[in-house]
Amino acid sequence: MANLRFVDALREGIAEEMRADPRVMILGEDVAVGGAFGVTRGLVDEFGHGRVINTPISEDTIMGIAVGAAVAGKRPIVEIMFVDFITLAMNQLVNHAAKVHFMSGGQLAVPMVIRVQQGAQGGWGSQHSQSLEAWFAHVPGLKAVAPGSAADANRLIRASIRDDSPVVFIEHRGLYFRHDPDGLEPGESVLGKAHIVREGSDITLVSYSRMLTECLEAAEDLAGKGISVEVIDLRSLVPLDIDTVIESVRKTNRLAVAHEAVVQGGLGAEIAARVQEMAMDYLDAPVLRIGAPYTPPPASPKLERAFVPDRAGIAARLHRMLSYSKEEGS
């Protein structure tokens, strides 16, 4: 695939699946006119209003409609314009989409994709900037995917559409208009498989979505100081490829997890809890969790920049981590 922008690679992935499978349809606010960020631009021209369906501003009902269409044989994609608005659809998402397959004893499958867009970028304030993936990771029955590159956006959206379970597909609006950095080799893109994006030997740094870029840059900065960081792109949050993480920790003996979501109750907690449980003996320092502070996203650009972990901050904290020793504490 040519080096497309994230948004175009994603759209191309959706279009390919819609071409291949007439059951695939997409619903959401303004999707027939391209959606808020142009992900669905032009799809209506190829697939018509019967499969690219504009909806009222009724998130919960849209989500329920998708569940109803999925159990009846369609493969709907729901676009939620901002992940913050999924609060309005949590009832159908948690109480039905996630549970129908289980509660029906396997009689029904819910093959649907819930596309959400998230991230603190642009000073859009506390109701347009949250990162809520830990909610989805906590709800059994939902899979969650968060690509960090255009190549993965293309391949993972296709894998998500083909999956027979509800998949929350997390897009970061800071990625939409970016091209993948040169030399990024995506590897195999399937659900449940992490990918070592950069090999290293001193610290394992786990990330996903847009924060992956900051991590790669931080790793580059640290390389200049002779510190070798192995960067793992999780890509799939549920199922979580903990084996790849643990294998890396056995080599580096240090683990940091970086995400844009709030630290408390975040995915970093889950990874830290699992790694210390499964590989404590290999850890030379506590698992470092890097994420947003415990606040709603502030609107002020300056505050927002402080809210989101960045390259310099990540590099500094990893650097400090190396000097951790049991006697001194961190």
Partner: protein
């Protein structure tokens, strides 16, 4: 109730507020387009809807509550907010009403009774009903007024709040600002929408036994007259009320990234719309609430053109000063992001 009963002084003061909103919003658009880093995302302005907000707020007393939406700048100024802290808030400065914390979507001004501005479609209606519930429980004669757009009727939260407000007879005024109306249909008429099936918005409220009114949101006299009466009746325990305030969209209001077509409003356009950009002429002739009010006041002999232009000059200056104030205000320290999580 007739709007003509409003005194000339009251109308002048209304015109002043309306023009102040217009000029402040023009500054907002200019700031967003002139600087890369001030308003980095999308935002919504109130140009062309000034009569609705100002007319409605004229009916409120100092202790009343007001709730609004992502399109809140104009409502806050209509309620008496100063442009300086409003603009400072929008560009995230410590001198903003919420010290730069809320930004364009969440201008909150407690001293004006503006307690929440939700960027979630329909988010403010239940909260406003809650304020009305609180008023009723506390036994005061306050009013809770909530502004929202026509899209809110697509959200379930609106219907849940509507039912409870009606059931519990809450002192709530629901001001639905429908800005999707063609000029000829502004007073009455159907609601042509690709996303809402009801042809009359008010019917939805009527079905829940809520008294409804349709008002020309481009006419500040009509809005103020109706709202004054309804606020009075609300205080007497006759609420809730639902109002569809119908208005015609300003051509520069292009979705989430407004554009000052032909630059800031020129007073010449008011007197002679033919001198404006062709895209604006029809709107200036038939729908612009500021131009309509200016012309009618002059025609009635209540004001001279010169007096109108004095107000314009004053509000223009006020808005420019607000811009400068905001731009020269400090940005918050990064660590202040950790403040105000818990009271």
């Amino acid at each position: 109730m007739a709007g003509s009963e409003l005194s000339v002084d009251t109308l002048k003061s209304a015109l002043h507020r309306m023009m102040l909103i217009r000029r402040a919003e023009e500054q907002v658009i200019d700031l967003a387009t002139s600087f890369d880093d001030l308003i980095r995302g999308h935002y919504h302005v109130y140009i062309g809807q000034e009569a609705s907000g100002v007319g409605a707020c004229m009916a409120l007393g100092p202790d009343d509550y007001m709730f609004t939406t992502h399109r809140n700048h104009g409502h806050v100024i209509a309620r008496g907010g100063e442009p300086s802290p409003v603009i400072a808030e929008i560009i995230g400065r410590t001198t903003g009403y919420n010290k730069g914390r809320g930004g364009t979507f969440h201008v909150i001004a407690k001293h004006l009774g503006v307690l929440q501005t939700s960027a979630i479609v329909g988010g403010c209606v239940p909260m406003a009903a809650g304020a009305a519930f609180s008023i009723k429980k506390r036994g005061t004669d306050q009013v809770s007024l909530v502004f929202f757009g026509d899209g809110v009727l697509e959200e379930g939260a609106f219907h849940e709040a509507l039912n409870m407000s009606s059931l519990w007879k809450l002192p709530l005024i629901m001001m639905c600002e429908n800005n999707s109306v063609l000029p000829e249909g502004r007073r009455q008429g159907e609601y042509p929408s690709s996303s809402f099936a009801a042809t009359q918005l008010a019917d939805v409220a009527k079905a829940m036994n809520v008294e409804t009114h349709v008002v020309d949101g481009g006419d500040v006299r009509e809005v103020a007259g109706l709202l004054t009466e309804l606020a009075h009746r609300t205080r007497a325990g006759e609420g809730p009320f639902f109002i569809e305030s119908r208005m015609t969209r300003w051509p520069g209001n292009r979705g989430s990234f407004p554009e000052l077509i032909g630059g800031p409003h020129q007073m010449d356009w008011t007197w002679d719309p033919g001198t404006a950009d062709a895209r604006l002429q029809d709107w200036l002739t038939n729908s612009d609430p500021v131009s309509l009010l200016c012309r009618s006041l002059v025609e009635e002999g209540a004001m001279t053109r010169e007096e109108v232009e004095e107000i314009d000059a004053a509000t223009r200056k006020e808005a420019e000063e607000a811009r400068e104030f905001a731009l020269s205000s400090p940005t918050p320290s990064p660590e202040s992001a950790m403040d105000y999580i818990f009271a």
